[in-house]
């Protein structure tokens, strides 16, 4: 099988510069230095690389939004604020292949003509932060960094919403992590008021292999509309939870039953969250979908951060929704009324149902309230909460009703 992002993970020294070089590291950066910035952008566009942080936006296209006539600074910001429930791939990359990210940043910076990059690492990731900072020091000593491009490693302080790119920018600017209204998009007016590209860790780690082996090769690994492999985080009731890198044409069934060894305990699959906590849930009959951006979209869900959470027959869907509803109630930044009010209220309702005190009308009310606020908020956080609220109830309604009729 083709391993691109995780090819050196078995090497216990893979995080060091020496090992990275031994695996062919920094050769792509050599090559990119002889390329015009526009040629790098074109190569990444042709590779069909799509953002792996959640939204799936084509990376090369995003890079091309930096205004051509801009003469001031341009910033590259790496989103290492991993926080989507069920996702842990960026932690592996920061700890096991930090130089791949640095090399991806160097190439991206050349493409967008940036002299300064920030890596925003979630505050809880202390070990990944140490590992990555050590790699940055190595890259300075080896003069990869500090010659036209500098990297600042920035630690967050605990807030899921700082994973949203404009919330992240607010936080980087020394403010609370409130998302901002778009437009203007960060590529026009981002960090410190300057054009800024925000990319996920894994997205940037795909860039060196694209430059080294070519867009056609990378595009050919994936589907028609998305190139490459990606790292699927698989957890929940499976025999072998972990990170699995495969081409994005893999099906959800293959991931669960071939890669992760199948379902534990009862052995019978009940439901799967395919793309992190905010992805609408799929039933056991809906897993013959390809795990690319469009495959999941067509299935009425989303690939998001590619965090796959597997539930077997013994899992309670209402409890699962309660846990996620608690998360959304806790993490709403509170700026938009529908998000602030509904997340708190829906958590209380689902909690009440799970505790056996639900009313007959509760389910319709939750779905109705949830849907009404959708699409009206500053950021996509709330839409990410509506997906689970509505899909869990619509697809597993009898299980909720059983709890209510007992009340």
């Amino acid at each position: 099988m083709t391993l691109v992002l995780t090819r050196s993970f078995d090497d216990s020294s893979s995080h060091t510069l020496e090992a990275y070089r031994a695996h062919g590291g920094y050769a792509a950066w050599e090559k990119a230095q002889a390329m015009e910035p526009a040629a790098i952008v074109d190569e990444v566009k042709a590779a069909n690389l799509r953002g792996l942080g959640g939204a799936g936006f084509p990376t090369g296209v995003k890079w091309s939004f930096i205004p051509k006539n801009h003469t001031g600074p341009v910033y590259l910001v790496v989103n290492a604020d991993e926080g989507e429930p069920g996702t842990f791939k960026d932690r592996y990359l920061l700890e096991r292949d930090p130089h791949a990210l640095i090399e991806g940043m160097l190439i991206a910076a050349r493409a967008i003509r940036s002299a300064l990059g920030f890596v925003y690492i979630r505050g809880e990731y202390v070990e990944p932060w140490r590992r990555f900072s050590a790699a940055v020091r190595e890259a300075y000593d080896a003069h990869h960094l500090g010659r036209g491009f500098d990297v600042v490693v920035h630690r967050g302080a605990g807030a899921y919403i700082c994973g949203e790119e404009t919330g992240l920018i607010s936080s980087l600017e020394g403010k609370k992590g409130w998302p901002k209204v778009k437009p203007p998009f960060p590529a026009i007016k981002g960090a410190f008021g300057q054009p800024t590209i925000v990319n996920n860790v894994e997205t940037l780690c795909c860039v060196p292999p694209i430059i080294e082996r070519g867009a056609a090769w990378f595009a050919g690994l994936g589907t028609k509309t998305q190139g490459g492999t990606r790292m699927y985080s698989v957890s929940g009731r499976v025999k072998r939870p972990g990170v699995y890198e495969t081409p994005v044409s893999v099906t959800l069934r293959q991931l669960i039953f071939e890669h992760a060894g199948g379902v534990t305990a009862s052995g019978r699959l009940k439901a799967v969250v395919p793309g992190g906590g905010s992805a609408p849930i799929l039933t056991a009959d809906e897993i013959d979908v390809t795990m690319d951006v469009d495959g999941l979209k067509n299935a009425g869900s989303m690939i998001g951060s590619a965090g796959v959470v597997v539930m077997d027959e013994s899992a309670s869907i209402p409890e699962a929704l309660m846990v996620l509803a608690r998360f959304y109630a806790h993490e709403s930044c509170g700026q938009c009324t529908p998000c602030r009010e509904s997340t708190g209220w829906i958590y209380k309702m689902v909690h009440r149902i799970v505790e056996g005190h639900g009313h007959k009308d509760d389910l319709d009310t939750i779905v109705d309230v949830a849907k009404r606020g959708g699409g009206t908020t500053i950021c996509a956080f709330y839409d990410g909460a509506v997906g689970p609220y509505v899909s869990y109830i619509e697809k597993f309604r009898p299980e909720f009703e059983a709890l209510i009729s007992r009340a």
């Binding site: 600074p73 429930p85 069920g86 600042v152 009731r237 972990g242």
Partner: protein, 160 residues
């Protein structure tokens, strides 16, 4: 802690200036400097907020707004160790409620509280993104993975 104790050493002040110089606007260093303040003073008191505000030419109100927004800043003295049990989806499916109940029983406190001897502050937290090793918790800087009640006991006993 007395108000007079809220001050960085000359070396720390140099570090503050170095951090501030890394950002196009020195304000970018606010979160890192607040981490420093917490490490130095134990928690971020109102006095510490005011002190840090002075280092940034910001209003204490702005710093207060920032401190209260983020979960990793403590506004009251915390225990010598912080035990944060994840209770999000994958950990929940793997038995996080039992693990959390076990820790509460062992320590005799609820989430959000600190033991009477000041040894441990307990928290229930959202996904720490180590779901492949659920149930899990964070103890100070370390991730403790694949928890069982017995493993939890051993870890808690090791915290002085």
């Amino acid at each position: 802690m007395s108000v007079a104790a809220i001050a960085f050493s000359p070396e720390q002040l140099a570090e503050v200036r170095r951090l501030q110089s890394l950002y196009p606007d020195k304000r970018g260093a606010l979160l890192p400097v607040l981490h420093m303040a917490q490490d130095t003073f134990g928690y971020v008191s109102l006095e510490a907020e005011e002190y840090v505000a002075g280092l940034f030419d910001l209003s204490p109100a702005h710093v207060h707004e920032v401190v209260t927004f983020y979960t990793l800043y403590f506004r009251e003295p915390k225990g010598r160790h912080v035990v944060a049990v994840c209770h999000n989806l994958s950990c929940h499916l793997a038995g996080a409620p039992e693990i959390l109940a076990h820790v509460k029983r062992r320590l005799g406190i609820e989430a959000g509280e600190t033991t009477g001897d000041g040894r441990i502050t307990l928290q229930a937290v959202e996904c720490l993104c180590a779901c492949e090793a659920a149930p899990m918790m964070q103890v100070d800087d370390r991730y403790e993975l694949n928890l069982t009640p017995e493993k939890v006991d051993r870890i808690l006993e090791g915290l002085a």
